[in-house]
């Protein structure tokens, strides 16, 4: 007779005696307490830590230690209990058999010859290399960190802390995505603050200027639609007829990079027809008259129409409606500032908001982003350098880290000689697929003595690393997350134990510190021990407590909290500029070699050789190189396409589904064509992503051309990703 597990009632009582004789490797005596949790569904609070507007509050359902499903947390009125398509894929990320499971080393780099190593060996190898480089060059400057937005949880700033704790190092500084716009608003207002996106519902006129929030910030749309139900008009200005633009009452297909010209044309009309809110503008800004003078003298509607490709009557209509339908809100998307004049264009749009008195109003604003809820301790990050550390000499015998531009990383790292960079530490970042000029990035990697990458999946950067360390997912970590768009802050609980041998960035820092101090006591200041929950607790301070109306981080276990700050940016008229006013005329901009006024700066134009603009905006099925590799996403969206206007396609004899070779002097990429009139005849579009088992990467043709701004607030200028000019042919 056959039996099943249910029928087999072992003889556990006798186990102890004889089990002792059996030599176990994998199994051991069960912990009664753990066993008791069987089949009880536990609910945890999590927050999606991705580089995304929505930073969704999540609830994870865990049964017997296993993550079963993830839902939106209804306690956040912004995300309203709903996730995006990516957020529903998390079980696939956590339990994908593709995950990186153990520390491993590859000799030689890129060979595919991987050996599994223990954490101890990994940490020792890295520690020895750090110490050896330090000895060889007299400082830790040959060690270079490249970290950014793979996980925006606050404890992930422990990556920066790791570097500080070993000494002065070389750091990739900057942010590729949004710095030109940040600087523009920093010049104008003193910093970035957007109205609470939930306040969009109070608007009577909304311009989505280069924002495809249907893909990149879906949870804001209900507020926009609520405004529309009340009668608000929705305008979308975008070179691409996106899913978002498809919903607009008025869609304006603007020539890329000419947004400032459109705004100037609007300003001209507003001036000429005296629709200016003089009272607001003169009371709250400096240099306004001077700019008005510029507009009056230099701008004509014909010029603006010619420049932007937007007919004069449409500019007039837009200007009139924007200036008279109050409150009117503008959402400045990050796409529109990824140009060599991107920051300047944002400044012009800011000025438009100021002249119509829409700044500082509920339902108004020129909304870009904010960092108001990010006032944490950055405890994991703030580590002192070891005694006697040497770095880049500053005044009075002080030292500092050496900055390299994240946005021109390959070239700048290779240019460093004194001392050269010899080791890379990469975490929360995938430069080989996401940075411009992929070929140069690969060349730079090849010049390293040691490349360490912390990641969850075998992406292109891991492929070119010497040591890879397995990263936890956010369900395996304690953390706290804030948004750069909405006003909610949430705690992220450890819902499941870290899988395999995965560690969080802080745990890795502690392990490295242990190894370094064993080899050379005092060589690393990072604590060697600490409970993950305690690390999070240490990020909180009174400012955060009072902002969120909590007395302890533990209060967040009941649900995320919305910051108790004005939902209207700049409502108090207290601007954070040196003058305390909106600086339409901005001395700091002038000091940084930029126009002091929001005047027109010529856009970068296509050449005869490379006559087509290749735009590579954010995808729907992923965020940068995350998510698209997961099985559900690969099934739903198996391969990339390039969107080509039928007229352009016809010129090259390209039909639907044909492969297209897209190339310039930097490199090339081959993508399948999709013919569509959602783009214009001189712009082709493919959405950046990392597909599993695919060489697809849009960055082969992208030059590391800097955007005009970014230095002031983020240390480095941004990248003009969308000034990417190519030629095409049928492959």
């Amino acid at each position: 007779m056959k039996i099943t597990r249910r029928q087999f009632i072992g003889t556990a009582a006798a186990v102890t005696a004889s089990a002792g004789l059996f030599s176990f490797n994998m199994l051991g005596k069960a912990d009664k307490a753990v066993a008791d949790t069987e089949s009880k569904v536990q609910i945890f609070r999590n927050v999606c830590p991705r580089n995304c507007y929505d930073t969704c509050a999540q609830i994870s359902y865990v049964e017997d230690g296993v993550l079963k499903k993830v839902e939106g947390d209804p306690k956040s009125t912004y995300t309203n209990g709903k996730l995006c398509l990516k957020g529903y894929n998390y079980t696939r990320r956590v339990y994908s058999p593709d995950r990186i499971k153990y520390p491993m080393k590859q000799v030689p780099r890129g060979s595919g010859n991987w050996e599994r190593i223990s954490w101890d060996e990994a940490m020792n190898t890295i520690a020895e290399k750090i110490l050896e480089l330090k000895k060889r060059y007299g400082s830790t400057l040959p060690i270079c960190m490249n970290k950014y937005s793979g996980n925006f949880g606050i404890t992930h700033y422990g990556i920066e802390g790791t570097m500080s704790s070993i000494g002065y190092t070389t750091r990739a500084v900057g942010t590729p995505c949004w710095p030109a716009g940040i600087d523009a608003q920093t010049y104008d207002f003193g910093t970035i603050i957007n109205n609470d996106p939930e306040d969009l519902a109070n608007s009577n006129y909304i311009i989505l200027w280069g924002s495809n929030c249907a893909w990149t910030g879906i949870h804001s749309l209900p507020f926009i639609m609520k405004a529309r139900e009340r009668g608000a008009k929705i305008v979308a200005i975008d070179p691409i007829l996106t899913s978002t633009a498809s919903k607009a009452d008025l869609y304006i297909q603007i020539k890329p990079s000419t947004d400032g010209a459109l705004a100037l044309g609007m300003a001209k009309y507003i001036l000429d027809n005296d629709l200016v809110d003089w009272e607001y503008a003169t009371a709250n800004s400096i240099g306004f008259e001077e700019w008005v003078d510029y507009v009056r003298k230099n701008i004509t509607l014909d010029w603006a129409a010619e420049k932007t490709g937007v007919p004069k009557d449409v500019i007039i209509q837009l200007a009139r409606e924007y200036a008279t339908t109050k409150p009117a809100a503008i959402w400045v998307g990050y796409g529109m500032q990824r140009h060599t004049n991107g920051g300047q264009n944002v400044r012009i749009i800011d000025a438009l908001g100021v002249m119509t008195g829409n700044v500082g109003k509920s339902g108004g604003g020129v909304n870009y982003a904010h960092l108001e809820t990010w006032g944490f301790n950055y405890h994991a990050m703030s580590m002192p350098v070891p005694e006697g550390s040497v770095g880049v000499p500053g005044p009075n015998g002080t030292y500092s880290d050496r900055a390299v531009n994240m946005n021109n990383f390959a070239a700048e790292v290779q240019a460093l000689t004194d001392p050269p960079v010899k080791m890379l530490w990469i975490a929360a970042r995938n430069p080989v697929s996401q940075d411009p000029d992929t070929n140069d990035i690969i060349k730079m990697f090849n010049s390293m003595e040691l490349v360490v990458t912390v990641d969850s999946f075998f992406n292109k950067t891991v492929e070119l690393s010497d040591i890879v360390l397995p990263a936890t997912t956010h369900f395996e970590d304690w953390d706290v997350m804030a948004s750069y768009w909405h006003y909610w802050v949430g705690i992220n609980q450890r819902a499941i134990e870290p899988m395999y041998e995965a560690k969080s960035d802080v745990e890795i820092a502690m392990a490295l510190s242990k190894a370094m101090n064993a080899l050379e006591p005092g060589s690393c200041t990072y604590p060697t021990e600490g409970d993950p929950e305690e690390w999070v607790a240490k990020e909180f301070n009174d400012g955060i407590h009072s902002m969120l109306g909590i007395s302890s981080y533990k209060d967040l276990l009941d649900g995320p909290r919305k910051a108790k700050i004005s939902p209207v940016a700049w409502a108090d008229g207290q601007f954070r500029t040196p003058s305390g006013k909106i600086e339409i005329r901005c001395e700091r901009a002038a000091q940084n070699g930029l126009p002091a006024l929001p005047v027109w700066v010529e856009e970068l134009k296509t050449s005869a050789q490379y006559p087509i603009r290749f735009m590579t905006p954010h995808p729907q099925h992923g965020i940068h190189s995350q998510f698209q590799n997961l099985d559900w996403m690969m099934a739903a969206n198996p391969e990339p396409v390039v969107e080509i206007h039928p007229e352009l396609a016809a010129q090259y004899g390209i039909g639907e589904g044909d492969m297209v070779r897209i190339y310039n002097d930097l490199g090339e990429v081959k993508i399948k064509a999709h013919l569509t009139r959602t783009t214009s005849p001189d712009v082709i579009v493919s959405y950046e992503a990392w597909y599993k088992d695919s060489p697809f990467n849009v960055n082969y043709t992208v030059k590391a051309i800097p955007a005009d701004m970014g230095k002031l607030a983020t240390g480095m200028d941004g990248i003009a990703f969308h000034d990417n000019f190519v030629a095409i042919e049928k492959a």
Partner: protein
């Protein structure tokens, strides 16, 4: 076939169980210790397999011959082991039951939890240094070996009923779980041309089987 004997004096004896148990353990250790330790774990497998062959009264098979001839220290064996089973690149033959038996090719699925229940019934749980899914190949094989060891213990203690219960439990565990190894080996054979791993696959197919036993002798 194992033989469970009840001798005329009432004594209980079992034959050919030990070799089975040892080979399960040897296979388990291959995956516990990983590609980097094949130089230690392969000879162990070789010994266990050779004993198994002898006990099953087969000649020393071809597989064993080539296994004997293999150079266990070859570095490329390590790389191939990791490529197949470990990573960091998505491994084509992940060594977890649920990837093959669950409707998704994911870890930590229903079958994983059922394996966990099996362990718990014996008051066991995975305690290895890395937090592997409960249905990691090495853990399952070890548990199989453990059930057989318990049966052997009871034979020693002359407790016939309990010995049989554990043999049956092993068979049930095989039917409910270990059977995935057939699919695992099928995938392995598709994914590699490296002889050593093909042989390990063959050994798994031949030796990780239900125990057929005869309740022989006089009772």
């Amino acid at each position: 076939m194992a033989v469970l004997l009840c001798l005329p004096d009432g004594a209980l004896r079992i034959e050919r169980l030990q070799s089975r148990l040892e080979i399960l353990l040897a296979l388990s250790r291959i995956f516990v210790a990983g590609g980097e330790n094949l130089v230690y774990t392969l000879p162990e497998l070789e010994r266990a397999y050779s004993r198994w062959l002898k006990e099953e009264e087969e000649s020393e098979g071809k597989e064993l011959q080539s296994l004997l001839q293999a150079d266990y220290g070859r570095k490329d064996l390590v790389y191939e082991f990791n490529r197949l089973f470990v990573g960091p690149k998505a491994p084509p033959v992940p060594p977890y039951e649920s990837v093959y038996l669950s409707k998704d090719r994911l870890v930590m699925q229903e079958s994983t939890l059922d394996v966990r229940r099996w362990y718990r019934q014996e008051e066991l749980m995975p305690v290895s240094r890395s937090n592997e899914p409960d249905d990691f190949i090495a853990t399952e094989l070890e548990f199989g070996a453990y059930l057989l060891a318990r049966a052997a213990d009871y034979v020693k203690e002359q407790q016939r009923g309990k010995a049989i219960a554990f043999l049956d439990a092993y068979n049930a565990f095989y039917d409910e779980h270990l059977v995935w190894l057939e699919e695992f080996v099928r995938c392995l054979k598709k994914a590699t041309q490296e002889k050593v791993f093909l042989i390990i696959g063959t050994i798994i197919l031949k030796t990780v089987r239900p125990i057929e036993y005869q309740k022989g002798g006089l009772t």
